[in-house]
Symmetry: C2
Subunit: 647 residues, 2 copies
């Protein structure tokens, strides 16, 4: 330790001896990093696109397929509805992009739904946004990993029975990588994202080229497992249900607005342009894939993904291009899961710092990452994968509600903000945490844009919740309010505690402790007992040794030995008729406490046996430990443990 | 509490408030009993037979069946060997009876194998006997319950798939009854034992009557599931293997020698006569059942017990007599399991008192029974039943080895005892714990009788171990020495500890503690911290508050507040570069300790937060708890916990 003297306090700097940490943990997640090692780098638009787009772009791997799956209930004839449904989804995407542009420029310090709701709508809405986002990050991991594994299983059907195990192992690997702490190296992110981008462009262009030259075939042996024999009529409900499935493509669009600080200056401008690029690419992918799927007659299936069918038809074989396409899709889905591992712990720490989640979430571990959040995310997502057997279709109804709820809150918050801006005097600035409010003459236009966005996403949320209610959305509709209730319970606890402990209205207590009354519980008279007695004598002259007796012969031994070794201290033997050990002692302590005056404090000095070997714990009654657990609930009792140990 | 003053010590008598105990426990096992409530009653021969014979007599329910099962490997033709094998078993029974008569008269205070071995052969042999007996009591429970359930399943085949569950529930019920504490009421025991006796006599006599009048039929639809198509030749190994199965009938014969004190005076004589009665009845049952089974052509089977086949053939239907016979058999088997619940905890307490088993086993619970032993027995026996799927045939190879080992040790011990008696001067008495040695002119005859018994049971043990080695006996051959090794490890631990703590060669330490150095670890400055500070000031003037800092802003707050509230006590801030909390504190404490002089003691005063609600524990880092766990391993450090609590 380095020592530095200071006017108020001595400051030491502590560096752990490195050898202490060279364990399996070091091997697994690397050696501890000092707080000063925190990296800071900014990225340009091209790299920014790679870093933030994986979540949004990867959703093209499951969203078009889920649209077809819902339409399949009305027979393959209904598949032609997939094109207008996708166009509606893309319209929603552009409304959102437009709306989020304004958030990015208003919150250059990062404007996630939690912060925007907190600053503009209040704590309660922020907690709703927090609950929605946290559930959604968990589902991002579960859905993306499951979809990634489905791609693998399409290419190598032999792996299909092990989907769940593969998905869980992947989640645990991503967890490990995140526990090591990924320096958000743009390069590492750029490769898979652009690989996926290139493969998508190749696939869609090849498909278009072949279509126009008349050489595009149909899917050979399309999987027919999900086509029902009797088809239901095409209804508005069905169309809306399919549209709801399609909107899952929009998950991840908010990522850039969370991470504005990562961009090079002028960061708002750079982030805004990147968002537009991302939306254009995503829109193109969605319509491209939907069109291709429809043209080649691909079928939604549990055994083979839409991407796999499209790729093997376009490339006319399961050759190298097919495998590259599948690999690129799998990798970008895993990347999408990875982004949740960055977002979930960060939001968890933010909410914990506001006192709505356990404080532990704000602690950064050895490797400067929020380890608790990372582990919690991995565990819950793995459980979901196991419960839903890595089935994307079953997981999806749980998804998206949270996303649209957070979209709505975020945009409603922005609309509220513009309203406030419009009511400021021109030239006046109001600094709020995270952003600056100043008068804007276009406030009404901006408010309408964000307000319209909010209304759209609210409507979509209701469509989603109603059409998918029975498929699983009910669960999320229950979970989000429950989470919010838990957050507030935690908040009340912390607030109550802080108030109780606060020194603000505290006056130094007038009576000082003047006298200790000391009780030493003894099971026998031995060196451990004497060590406790010796310590007790430094506290007070008012010492009583208490022996709870079950066996009169044993009690007689204790009395005889105490005469020799007890230094004249009084001994009380409590005969326990019912062979209880704790209760008689506690009752006795209670009696003594009632006798205590105001300036007296009751101290129980416990001789604490320290087991040498782990198994020897089982050979002792550990009365001291039990006693401590019971007595600790007692505010007015101080427990002193004098350890004795055997070599 | 009643208070009684005494010359050396104050004596209090503690009775718990009854309300404290009116919980689910009271409902389940009854209200607590005072130590003075321990019952003492003695019983006559007829009741004694009922109490102690259930284990031995009930073995006739599985032993003859297992003999046939082994012989079945050589085809049904080999079944005629069952008669001479049973006669050999009965001979062994009478040798044992003769031998145990001498034990009963030499040990009027109860002469189980553990005590006889300990007194005459030494501690090591006693521990071997203890290990053998404890394993055997466990197997008695598993085998008897499984056999009882097999009887039920024979009468009601619909229950057959649930054998394991029924057996486990039965074991748990017997456990509960024993936790309540059965006053060994002879009456309750007498009814089922004599019911079984009467039903056996009726069955065997009815069978003999029908045989001699020529009306005894053959078993209708005998179960053929265990008959092999290709039979192996009849070999000496096969005969010995079958004989080994037959000897399981002898388990339980030693029960009376354990329980002599329960008999009315002259107790040795009464116990001896009861033992003879029991052996005669058991012998008659064994040969009767074997003969009947052979005559009616009953087959060993996994689906129907031998008893069930015999009873339905003798009574010509599955009528009321059949059901009574099956019920009687089931009940006596359960009674046999129940006796193990009396013996196992008693032996456990005996061995624990000698320091070879955890001390906890010597504590009697609320209801004056050795609760730990009862629960341990029920848990282990249930696990065995689950592992072996309540299959008697699979459990049996584990049984009996322990019984014969304890027979051998007990009789060898007796032989050794007669040798010692023979070498005393006439008229000289040597009082040993548990028995009195005096010269006996017939010592050689008696030594030969016990010695011959020991040799016979030793030979049987080897036959059993060798012929059943591959069936599972190997497990017991491994377990018994392992247990003995564990017993000795426990003994060494207790002995070492007693020596370390002993005051025998202890001198009062010359240096008294003159000065405390006090360290208070603080995470913040609040009322809890101040309570700890106030307490610390009563101990010493040499106080240092230590704050481990992760966040410089937080550290600054602590410093500022400390200036106001710290009463001038010095504050050390340890900046933890690697965000560790414990290590910097421990390192600091270590540094301070190195500075401590001989008459100084280091005390760490920990402000201990008491969680109000159970779940609020999860919202705190519980640093104090963690700290205590690490520091407790440190002999030279006293930990003081000053609790603070929130309403």
């Amino acid at each position: 330790m380095n020592i530095e003297e200071n006017e108020n306090a001595t400051i030491l700097t502590h560096k752990p001896a490195y050898k202490q940490h060279k364990t399996w943990r070091t091997w697994l997640i690397g050696k501890p990093l000092s707080t000063g090692d925190a990296p800071h780098q900014t990225i340009g638009k091209l790299v920014g696109l790679a870093v933030f787009a994986s979540d949004a772009l990867s959703s093209s791997a499951y969203s078009p397929q889920e649209v077809l799956l819902v339409l399949a209930a009305a027979g393959t004839g209904a598949f032609s509805f997939s094109i207008p449904i996708t166009l509606a989804t893309i319209s929603l995407l552009f409304i959102l992009t437009f709306s989020y542009q304004q958030t990015i420029h208003a919150y250059p310090g990062g404007g996630g739904a939690y912060i925007v709701s907190r600053d503009n709508l209040g704590e309660a809405y922020a907690q709703v946004a927090g609950a929605a986002l946290l559930t959604d990050y968990i589902l991002t991991v579960a859905v993306s990993t499951s979809s990634g594994v489905a791609q693998i299983a399409s290419a190598w059907p032999v792996l299909a029975p092990h989907k769940v195990e593969i998905a869980v192992i992947m989640v645990l690997l991503i967890m490990l990588i995140n526990l090591r702490g990924v320096k958000e190296s743009g390069f590492a992110f750029a490769i898979p994202t652009y690989f996926f981008f290139v493969m998508m462009v190749i696939t869609i262009c090849a498909g278009m080229f072949k279509y126009f030259t008349g050489t595009l075939g149909m899917v050979e042996n399309p999987p027919m497992d999900l086509l029902k024999e009797v088809s239901e009529p095409i209804s508005l409900f069905l169309i809306l249900h399919a549209f709801a499935s399609g909107t899952t493509a929009l998950t991840g669009v908010e990522a850039i607005s969370n991470g504005i600080t990562a961009f090079k200056e002028p960061r708002s401008k750079n982030a805004g342009i990147t968002l537009v690029w991302m939306s254009v690419i995503l829109g193109a992918f969605l319509i491209g894939i939907t069109w291709l799927a429809h043209t080649v007659g691909a079928m939604p299936s549990e055994h083979e993904t839409l991407f796999s069918q499209i790729a093997r038809t376009t490339f006319e074989s399961r050759g190298i291009l097919y495998l590259m396409m599948i690999s690129a899709t799998t990798v970008i889905l895993i990347m999408a899961a990875n982004t949740a591992f960055a977002d979930f712990p960060r939001l968890g720490a933010l909410a914990a710092n506001d006192g709505y989640l356990p404080r532990q979430l704000t602690f950064r571990g050895d490797r400067l990452v929020y380890s608790w959040g990372i582990v919690a995310l991995a565990v819950i997502a793995s459980l979901l994968i196991i419960i839903f057997q890595a089935n994307v279709t079953n997981l999806l109804p749980l998804y998206a509600i949270g996303v649209f709820l957070s979209f709505t809150l975020s945009q409603a918050g922005m609309a509220r903000r513009w309203w406030k801006c419009g009511h400021l005097k021109p030239g006046v600035e109001k600094v709020e945490p995270g952003s600056v409010l100043r008068f804007d003459k276009n406030w009404m236009v901006k408010m309408v844009i964000n307000g319209f966005g909010a209304v759209c996403t609210l409507v979509v949320m209701f469509i989603f919740g109603i059409t998918k209610f029975r498929d699983g959305a009910w669960l999320i509709i229950l979970i989000i309010p429950t989470l919010v209730a838990i957050f507030f319970a935690i908040h009340r606890h912390y607030k109550g505690l802080a108030k109780e402990l606060s020194l603000e209205k505290h006056f130094m207590e007038p009576t000082q402790i003047q006298r200790h009354r000391v009780i030493i519980p003894i099971s026998g008279v031995h060196r451990g007992t004497l060590a406790a007695l010796r310590y007790a004598k430094t506290l007070s002259n008012d010492i009583t040794a208490v022996h709870v007796s079950i066996d009169p012969i044993e009690a007689q031994k204790v009395k005889t030995k105490w005469e020799t070794w007890g230094e004249g201290i009084r001994l009380v033997v409590v005969e326990s008729e019912y062979r209880l050990l704790m209760e008689p002692l506690l009752d006795y302590i209670e009696q003594v406490r009632e006798l205590c005056k105001e300036n007296e404090i009751l101290t129980v000095v416990v001789p604490q046996f320290i087991a040498g070997k782990w198994w020897s714990n089982f050979l002792h009654m550990n009365t001291a430990d039990q006693l401590r657990k019971v007595m600790l609930n007692d505010k007015d009792l101080v427990i002193v443990e004098v350890p004795y140990q055997v070599k």
